[in-house]
Every structure is written in structure tokens, then in C-alpha cells.
């Protein structure tokens, strides 16, 4: 089980969503994806996309101006 780090800081709509989807497709089941970003809508929308795809949202945290979202791949994407 690996951790995949995604840096989406300063990326605008819909790049963070697209990057998370790409990472979910490439990851193996059990892998954790940690995405860091600054685009505020993506902080709400990445959890929506994770839910829509039936993957597991581990947590959403704020770090100053940035947010960090951790996702676990639990099924094929």
C-alpha cells in the first residue's frame, strides 16, 4: 500500500478534480491519495466526487491557506 501525493496548489477548476480522478484510476486498492490545494470550491467538490465514486474519504484538513484531503482507494475506479 502506497501513498500518492498530489500537489494541486494554485490550480483552478476543474484541474484538482481531474487530478484526483486520474490518481484514483492509477492507484492500487488500499493506496492513500493525499491532495493539497488552494482552490476553495475543490475543497467541497473533491469529497463529493469521492462519494460519487464510492471511494473512502479519510479526512479534510486546513493548513493555513491550503487544504489537505486524504482519500483511500477501496474499489476499482
Amino acid at each position: 500500500m502506497a501513498q500518492i501525493d498530489l500537489d494541486c496548489r494554485h490550480q483552478n477548476c476543474p484541474v484538482p478534480l481531474v487530478q484526483v480522478r486520474k490518481a484514483l484510476k492509477k492507484a492500487a486498492i488500499g493506496d492513500i491519495i493525499e491532495v493539497v490545494g488552494t482552490h476553495s470550491a475543490s475543497k467541497k467538490e473533491i469529497p463529493m466526487a469521492v462519494e460519487a465514486q464510492g471511494q473512502e474519504l479519510l479526512d479534510v484538513k486546513d493548513q493555513g491557506q491550503e487544504w489537505v484531503i486524504r482519500i483511500k482507494k477501496v474499489k476499482e475506479a
Binding site: 483552478n12 477548476c13 484541474v15 478534480l17 486520474k22 463529493m48 460519487a52 465514486q53 464510492g54
Partner: protein
């Protein structure tokens, strides 16, 4: 349930084509299937070298407005159309080119980016995609 989005890209205007790809990529990112059906002026954007050559739907001002928007989009870190299409294809998005438009406008397959196009079809192809879709839009 994954779901599906189908968009008719009738307009060749740069801003509308960008909207189609943003909605398309957003849908793919949600785990949905997507079909973009390019017809009429939209088909010009599938010509080799034609992707970002469309005018703005408003305030084009002989291309000045278009150049300004491109600059502002780059500043706001919005992905370029080229990147959007690359992501769209990588995530499994489907592009359909309208055969009737090709006939009407005298466009041949050799003039089009066939590496992006999954299928050539007519209205029946669109309806067949749209009837199985949860979201269908026309730009």
C-alpha cells in the same frame, strides 16, 4: 451508479467549447461517462490546429477580447484547451463528429484530429447516447 453526460457542441466559440470540456472533465472526475457530439460550428474545433481558434461568443472585438480572455485565463491558472482535451481523452471521454456537418461544410476526415475522435455519426448516434444519459446539454 456512475451515470452519463452528453453534450452537443454546436458552437465553435472558444468560451463555449471551454465550458463543454470543463463540464465534460468534471463529469469524468465524478466517475461518469461522457460523450461530446461536435456538430456545425463546433466541428471546426476538431480540425487540425483549430482547437483554440474559435472567437469569443461576446466581446470578441476582432480577436482582441479573445486574446485578453486567454491571458486572464492563464493568469488564473485555468488549464488550456489542449490540456483539457488531453485530460478528457485520458479519463475515457468520447468524442463524436457529425457526418452531416462534414458533408455540408466540405470537411474531410483528413482535416480532422481523428486521434481524438472515437466515432463519426449522425443524429441517431446522439439520441442513442442522450437517452442513456442523466445530464444532456447543448452549447
Amino acid at each position: 451508479m456512475a451515470g452519463k453526460t452528453t453534450i452537443v457542441v454546436h458552437s465553435g466559440d472558444m468560451d463555449k467549447v471551454i465550458s463543454a470540456f470543463i463540464i465534460g472533465n468534471g463529469s469524468l472526475s465524478m466517475g461518469m461517462e461522457v460523450s461530446l457530439y461536435f456538430t456545425f460550428w463546433g466541428l471546426n474545433r476538431l480540425k487540425k490546429g483549430g482547437l483554440d481558434k474559435g472567437p469569443l461568443s461576446k466581446m470578441n472585438m476582432l480577436g482582441l477580447g479573445r486574446r485578453m480572455i486567454k491571458g486572464r485565463m492563464a493568469k488564473a491558472n485555468v488549464a488550456t484547451l489542449e490540456t483539457m482535451v488531453k485530460d478528457f481523452k485520458e479519463l475515457g471521454g468520447k468524442i463524436i463528429a457529425c457526418e452531416m456537418t462534414m458533408e455540408v461544410m466540405g470537411i474531410t476526415k483528413e482535416q480532422l484530429r481523428t486521434d481524438w475522435i472515437d466515432e463519426f455519426g449522425a443524429v441517431g448516434t446522439y439520441i442513442n447516447e442522450a437517452r442513456k444519459s442523466d445530464i444532456t446539454l447543448f452549447v
